[in-house]
Amino acid sequence: MSEPILRVDNLESYYGPVMAIRGVSVEVHEGQIVTVLGANGAGKTTLLKTISGIMDPEKGTIHLEGESIQGMEPDQIVRRGVIHVPEGREVFPLLSVEENLLMGAYTRNDKAGVRNDLEMVYGYFPILKDKARQAAGTLSGGQQQMLAIGRGLLAKPKVMLLDEPSLGLSPLLVKEIFTIIKRLNTEQGVTMMLVEQNAKVALDTAHHGYVMEIGRIVMNDKAPVLAASKDIQEFYLGVQEAGERTQKRWKKRKTWR
C-alpha cells in the first residue's frame, strides 16, 4: 500500500504521572475512515489530543504526509490539515451557528473557498442553515454534534479526528450522523480517524479498525474482519455465546503485545 497520510509510531503520552497511552502505532490512509475502538479510559481521546497538539507526547512520532508534527502547537497542526472534532461537541455557545462554522475556517484565508465549503456543509446539514443566526448554545445535542462536524469540515482538513460523535445521542440520531459521516467520506473524500465506544456503528462505517485497551492497541484489522471476530462480538457488540467464558481471547495469548 502507499504511504499513509497520517502515521503514528510508538506514541506515549502522560496525564501528569499517569501514562495514558503506551506505545501506540496507527496508520490512516488517504480516503479512509479508520476507527479506534475501546472502553472508557482506554486512551482513545488522549491519542486524538496528542495528534492534534493539545497534549505533547513523551515519546514517539506523528507524521502527516511524511512531515513530523508531534509536539507542535495546535494552531500549526490545524494549518497543516488535521482538525479535531472534540468529544462532547464543544461549540461556542453564544456565537451564532454560522459564526461557529466560520471559526472552523479560522486558519484559512481563501474567502471564496470558505463560502463554497459553508454551502457544502449546509447541504449536508440543512438544519444548520435554518438556524444559521441562532446562538449555538440553544441547539439540541444532535444539532450541536452536526455543528461540530460542520465546523471541522470548514477547516478543509486532510485528516479529520472525530471523538465519539455518538456520545449522548439517540440511536436514530446516531444512525443519521453516521450516514452523513459515510457520505462525507465517499462524496467529499474526507479522510477520518474515528474514535468510538459504539463499535457496531463505527465498524459499519469504517474501512479499518483498531482496538485499544489500557493505552495499548490490542487488535488491528480491516473493519469487516474485526466485526466478525469473536472478541469484538462478545465485548463490544454484545453477542453472547452460550457456555463461553468471559475472558478476552487476546488476553489468553502471550503474543498480543
Binding site: D75, V91, P93, L94, E99, Y106, T107, A155
Partner: protein, 291 residues
C-alpha cells in the same frame, strides 16, 4: 440649565469610568482574570500622552501624540501578558490578581520617577474651551469625551461582531478548549486582548487628563471603575459603560443634593446594593458561564 451642565459633566466622568471598566471587562472575559492595574494603565497612558505633547517635555503636536500614546500603551498591554501574565497560566486566580496589583504599584512608581508626583495637566487643544447654545455653556473637553466614547463603543461593537479576530476573541472567551481545537492561537489572542485593553486605557487616560490634572495616584480611579464594571455586570462591555455612566451621574447629583461626604460614598453604596439584589450585575451574560 444647571442640571443639564451637571448631566453633561457627569456623563463625561462616567464615560471615563466606563472606558476603564471596559478594560476590566475585556480582560476578564478573555482570561477570567481581573486586572487591578487597569486604573494605573489609564494613569500611565495619560502621562505618556502628557510626556509626548507637553511643551516642557517632548512637545509633539497633539494629533501625533495621541495615536503614539495609544500604540505605546497597546504595546505595554501586550507585553504585560506576553512577558508576565502568560507565565501564571495554571496558577490560582489569586496569583494573577496579586501580580496585577504589583504591576500597578510599579506603574505608579515609574510614573512618579519620570514625571514627578505633582499634579500636572495635559496641554490639550480642547482644554478650557466652551461651546454654547442657548443659555447652556458646555466644556468642549466634556463634549469631546462623550463623543469619543460613543465612537469607540460603536467601533468595538463592530470589531467584535464583524471582524475575524473579534469573533475569535469572543470564541476563545466562551470555550477556550474549542478555540484551541479550531487552530485559534489562544495565547496570542489573549495578548491581543491585553493590547486592546491597554489602548482603551490610553484613550481613557487622554480623555481624563484633558478634563483636569493628573498625578501618579490618579490610577486609584481604577477602584471606582471596577465598581462600575461590577455594577454593569463583569463580563458585559455595554454593562461596563452603563455602570460607568451610572457612577458618573450619581456623583455630581448626589454632591449637589446630598452633600460631599455622602456623594463619595454613593458609588460603593450602589455597588453593595447591586451585589445584594442583582449579584451578576445589570447587564450580565450569565449563560456564558454555563458550559
Amino acid at each position: 440649565m444647571d442640571a443639564l451642565q451637571l448631566l453633561v459633566s457627569g456623563l463625561a466622568n462616567g464615560c471615563v469610568y466606563g472606558l476603564i471598566a471596559m478594560g476590566f471587562v475585556l480582560i476578564y472575559k478573555a482570561t477570567e482574570a481581573v486586572n487591578f492595574a487597569q486604573g494605573d494603565m489609564m494613569m500611565l497612558g495619560a502621562f505618556v500622552a502628557l510626556g509626548l505633547t507637553n511643551e516642557h517635555y517632548a512637545h509633539l503636536p497633539f494629533v501625533v501624540a495621541v495615536p503614539l500614546t495609544i500604540l505605546i500603551m497597546a504595546a505595554v498591554g501586550y507585553l504585560m501578558d506576553a512577558v508576565l501574565l502568560r507565565r501564571t497560566f495554571g496558577q490560582s486566580q489569586i496569583a494573577v490578581v496579586i501580580l496585577t496589583i504589583a504591576i500597578g504599584f510599579v506603574f505608579r512608581f515609574v510614573a512618579g520617577v519620570i514625571w514627578g508626583h505633582e499634579p500636572q495637566s495635559l496641554e490639550s487643544p480642547l482644554a478650557g474651551r466652551d461651546i454654547r447654545f442657548g443659555g447652556v455653556v458646555l466644556g468642549l473637553d466634556e463634549v469631546f469625551v462623550i463623543v469619543v466614547t460613543i465612537a469607540l463603543t460603536v467601533g468595538m461593537y463592530f470589531f467584535f461582531a464583524r471582524t475575524k479576530m473579534g469573533v475569535a476573541m469572543q470564541a476563545s472567551s466562551q470555550n477556550q478548549m474549542a478555540a484551541y481545537y479550531m487552530g485559534i492561537p489562544v495565547k496570542r489572542v489573549h495578548s491581543l486582548v491585553w493590547a486592546l485593553s491597554g489602548a482603551v486605557a490610553a484613550i481613557a487616560g487622554i480623555l481624563f487628563a484633558s478634563k483636569g490634572s493628573i498625578d501618579p495616584a490618579t490610577g486609584f480611579l481604577g477602584i471606582k471603575a471596577f465598581a462600575a464594571a461590577v455594577i454593569g455586570g463583569l463580563g458585559s462591555l455595554p454593562g461596563a459603560l452603563l455602570g460607568g455612566i451610572i457612577i458618573g451621574l450619581v456623583e455630581p447629583f448626589s454632591a449637589r443634593y446630598l452633600g460631599g461626604d455622602l456623594a463619595r460614598l454613593m458609588p460603593y453604596l450602589i455597588l453593595v446594593l447591586i451585589l445584594v439584589f442583582r449579584p451578576h450585575g445589570i447587564l450580565s451574560q450569565v449563560q456564558a458561564k454555563k458550559v
